[in-house]
């Protein structure tokens, strides 16, 4: 019987195994990944000498590397349309793995695929005249909208099941919109709000 090749391990294979494990268990361990891949934990350490922190970074590189920024960087599209596309693409990608978000957010952003996603947002803010001292605040607002809406995308449909509880305002509202498109409509409204907040910063800076 052939033994598994020693060459099956690579950082990207390890990242994918970690993502699979996080999706199932909401966290990962190095022995758990080793078991998933049928290898010895010490072979894992050979490929990811930075241990847990490095694996979190590899997971983020893999996830953020899949974000399609075509529409967010399309020449000729007004900035509002590019920003909307940036938010939608980033959110659609993160919504695939909500359980990974607390892990990824808890670790510093120092890998190029993730830095590049943010670079596109900072470039738009430079272009439209947002002062450098406001840009981090704006991107933090955008991150909140993206991550929150990606989490919200994982809510059940219907989300509110009030039964007979005495919550009359909620009881009246939920039949109108607690459906499959609820989270997407909330995102669009949040984007409208984010664009308005940015426009007010532009007006202040002018």
């Amino acid at each position: 019987m052939a033994r598994p090749s020693k060459n099956i391990l690579s950082p990207s294979i390890i990242a994918e195994a970690a993502l699979t494990m996080v999706e199932r268990d909401h966290d990962f361990t190095i022995p758990g990944i080793a078991k998933e891949l049928g290898v010895n934990p010490s072979s894992l350490y050979h490929h990811v000498r930075g241990g847990r922190d490095e694996i979190i970074n590899l997971m983020r590189e893999a996830l953020y590397g899949r974000i399609d920024l075509g529409a967010a960087t399309a020449e000729g599209t007004p900035w509002q349309g590019r920003l909307r596309a940036w938010i939608r693409s980033y959110r659609a990608n993160m919504a695939k793995l909500p359980a990974a978000m607390p892990l990824l957010v808890g670790s510093p952003v120092d890998d190029l695929p993730t830095l590049r996603i943010y670079e596109v947002a900072f470039a738009i803010l430079d272009e439209i005249g947002i002062p450098a001292e406001d840009q981090v605040d704006v991107v933090s607002m955008l991150d909140a909208v993206v991550l929150g809406s990606a989490l919200d995308r994982g809510a059940p449909v219907p989300m509110w099941q009030p039964g007979d509880h005495a919550v009359p305002h909620l009881q009246r509202a939920v039949p109108f919109g607690d459906d499959d498109d609820r989270s997407a409509r909330g995102l669009e409204l949040a984007i409208t709000g984010a664009v308005a907040a940015i426009e007010s910063l532009i007006a202040e800076a002018a």
Copy 2:
């Protein structure tokens, strides 16, 4: 040697043990909670017959029950101030346990403490004339902002550590604001945006 009393178990003790376990491991199991509490898993089931789903609901009841809505319901405060207080209180509470968010969001809202938090938001929207058919969208926008900013609160400081990577716009911006207050300033800007989005719905409905 005294044996542990059979009365030590209650739904709220079980919820707190589950929250502790989620904070540490990003998830919980019923055998894990039983071990944490030094009891037999079958004794747990006696108190939470609904199993995992019921424990998730108990966790949410405990977390949402701690949200202070005083400022969000204060008479005489304009709606923008009450909504701002609602978002801030809800977000401050969720930021204490970011790892629980994917679990809580993935389960329907049917417990009174959580329904009451949303009821306060729906009541404000009724009061200011947001049509019933838009209210779920607005609350989904608010939820995205709250949950995303609560997650973002758990990011390290500094969050972006670009090193020598070629991301010039990001490199220029981050020295101005990647500090302890970054996430809070992003939240305030997101609230400004949410209020603007709501005001545009009021104008449309008028």
